[in-house]
């Protein structure tokens, strides 16, 4: 190679640019453009989501305003969700409440179970046990949600009714079961984010507490958990974001029919995701109101998860800054 003789040697940490300008070689230039183009796809995907959701959502609000006389306030506070009825109603509260119930139930399962698993993995488990439990949790995270939904509907629901026959079970669906099943599959996420946070807590903090005579349990509760709290909060927020977006489990275990505002845990309750999956099965015509309704609900769902995700990303970043 003739050009390399004239190049100055790159110092430690110097980029490849110190050696040779890669843009001079057409091959290197083309490859760099391909790599940069690949990276751009992540940005384009977000842009595509926004571009596909918001125009249709805006046309939804315009149409319900002009044709049905429903204002944004009535949309946000209405308690009957039946956009495809002959006499349609556009109160979004029932499906928002439905999604919220799923999130609360899911967190009631995944926060304690995930946090306890994380404390065990980070503070107690010998390396050998850890090497078995961590992959098992990853396998749980990878179980297809259709399978979990059918398991919840055909196994958990009848078993729960048999065990507690006095509870007011109504109909084949129960959001209680759906929410708890969603909780089970968000356990690995909660556990792995919390475990990462706890393992980043400096060993010196633990040793200081041991030196003062604390037991292992007290060190875990009073030192490690508080020191890792922002990572744990990020885990909770990510688990909530995952739960609000979960579709198949909720669709199978809690149904997609109920248009009423309902807090009944033992009956079917419709969620935002179940509405989208139930309505947008390919054969709805573009430009119709129901098509735009799907996009309006999709926008709402996207905005909720976006804010949860950004909140979690900030929390994790702040945590990393403290201990790195």
């Amino acid at each position: 190679m003739t050009t390399s003789t004239s190049a100055r040697p790159a110092g430690p940490g110097a980029s490849h640019r110190g050696l040779q300008d890669p843009t001079r070689r057409p091959g290197e230039w083309a490859i760099l453009q391909f790599l940069r183009g690949s990276a751009t796809i992540a940005i384009l995907t977000t842009a595509g989501i926004v571009a596909s959701l918001f125009p249709a959502a805006i046309s939804f609000f315009r149409e319900v305003q002009t044709v049905h006389g429903v204002s944004f306030l009535e949309f946000a506070t209405g308690t009957f969700w039946a956009p495809d009825f002959a006499n349609p109603s556009f109160g979004v509260l029932p499906i928002v409440v439905g999604s919220s119930i799923v999130v609360v139930l899911a967190l009631l399962v995944s926060v304690p179970v995930g946090l306890l698993s994380a404390i065990y993995l980070s503070e107690y488990a010998p390396a050998r046990v850890r090497r078995i439990i961590k992959p098992a949790l990853e396998v749980l995270e990878g179980v297809p949600t259709v399978a979990v939904g059918l398991f919840a509907f055909w196994f958990l629901r009848p078993t729960a009714q048999e065990a507690f026959p006095n509870l007011p079970w109504t109909g084949p669906f129960a959001i209680l079961i759906g929410g708890m099943a969603v909780g089970l599959i968000t356990v690995p996420l909660m556990a792995s984010v919390s475990d990462d946070a706890m393992r980043q807590v400096p060993q010196s903090l633990r040793e200081a507490a041991y030196a003062l005579g604390d037991s292992k349990a007290r060190v875990a509760i009073r030192v490690v958990v508080p020191a890792a709290i922002s990572g744990i909060v990020a885990g909770i927020v990510l688990a909530a974001s995952r739960a609000v977006g979960e579709t198949m489990i909720v669709l199978l275990a809690a149904g997609a029919g109920n248009p009423n505002l309902s807090f009944n845990l033992f009956a079917g309750v419709q969620t935002m995701t179940a509405f989208i999956a139930g309505k947008a099965t390919g054969d709805i015509a573009q430009g119709t109101l129901i098509y735009d309704t799907v996009f309006a609900v999709g926008s709402l769902l996207f905005l909720v998860t976006l804010s949860l995700n950004l909140f979690a990303i900030r929390f994790v970043r702040r945590f990393r800054e403290v201990y790195e």
Binding site: G142, T145, F155, L184, L238
Partner: protein
């Protein structure tokens, strides 16, 4: 800090001199039991799903499941053949798309960009957020942009591939970045010092050593795409196809969506068919995931 000066301020507790007090010991045992309960619920839940799938799916499991086409008329001989073909097409498309794009993005972020640059930080933020965007929202994107709109290829298997590829890209990117970060800098620097071009140094030194990690991410992504149903409901996989689909034309279905369709029919024999499908799908997904995790643990040791 000297030891002698700090011992004076240490609290005089029993635990320093000998055994911890009885109450403390009971607390420790109770806490360990609660921790065990947490692990038990998590792993017990996984075990319950697997045991249920085997017991519910086995009665209907036979070769006809793979060779017979779906049917609503002859339930006893109905199978998943066309849905399995659909899944294979969709997954093949996903693999072809995510490996170059996922590896390309990871290489760009780790090797060819200034990590503090605005562009790199924006890409990073987008990847982190996209990892948490619900699958069904990708379905909406697929419906508006890929099936219709700018790409406009209609309800075909290729639309399913594109939608799922976008959905799982963050998974393969994150795994690939970690793998690339684990390659010692000295390998690349050695190649550069010998006169290799930047790309040559990365391609011959960094990529081979990062390959197991990239492959792990690819397999995890494919396993996820294979089991995903929600976004495909929106991009056309609900067609009840009784013939093998083609990639660029015709309606298609995939295994998890076919399972969902069978499961929501009222007759019990359809339900059994769905359970058998769940068992097949779980075995395949678990095999892929276990292989990926094994692969990662096998090559996890950092090079020295």
């Amino acid at each position: 800090m000297s030891i002698t000066s700090s011992t004076a301020s240490l609290p005089q507790r029993d635990s320093i001199r000998g055994a911890p007090p009885a109450g403390e010991r009971a607390f420790s045992i109770a806490f360990s039991a609660v921790l065990g309960l947490g692990i038990f619920v998590a792993l017990g839940g996984l075990a319950a799903i697997l045991i249920w799938a085997v017991s519910a799916g086995l009665p209907r499991l036979d070769w006809g499941l793979f060779t017979n086409a779906p049917s609503t008329a002859r339930i006893e001989t109905a199978g998943f053949r066309t849905a399995i073909f659909g899944s294979l097409y969709v997954i093949a498309g996903v693999i072809v798309l995510i490996i170059p794009i996922g590896l390309g993005t990871a290489l760009y972020l780790e090797e060819f960009s200034d990590r503090t640059s605005r562009f790199a930080r924006l890409v990073d933020l987008n990847i982190q957020n996209l990892a948490g965007v619900p699958a069904i929202v990708f379905g909406i994107l697929g419906l508006a942009f890929i099936v219709r709109g700018p790409v406009g290829i209609g309800f075909v298997a290729a639309a399913g591939s594109l939608t799922l590829a976008l959905l799982v890209l963050p998974t393969i990117i994150v795994s690939s970045r970690e793998a690339i970060r684990g390659v010692p800098r000295s390998l690349k620097e050695g190649a550069l010092a010998l006169g290799a071009t930047p790309w040559k140094a990365v391609w011959t030194q960094v990529v081979p050593y990062a390959a197991p990690g990239v492959l792990t991410g690819a397999i995890l992504s494919v396993a996820r795409a294979f089991g995903e149903a929600a976004p495909l409901l929106l991009v056309g996989a609900v067609t009840f196809v009784t013939f093998n689909p083609r990639f660029w034309s015709d309606g298609y279905s995939v295994l998890p969506v076919m399972i969902y369709q069978y499961a929501t029919r009222p007759q019990a024999s359809f339900r059994l068919l769905a359970f058998a499908g769940v068992l097949v799908m779980l075995v395949l997904v678990l095999f892929m995931n276990s292989f990926a995790i094994w692969l990662r643990n096998r090559y996890e040791r950092p090079l020295q």
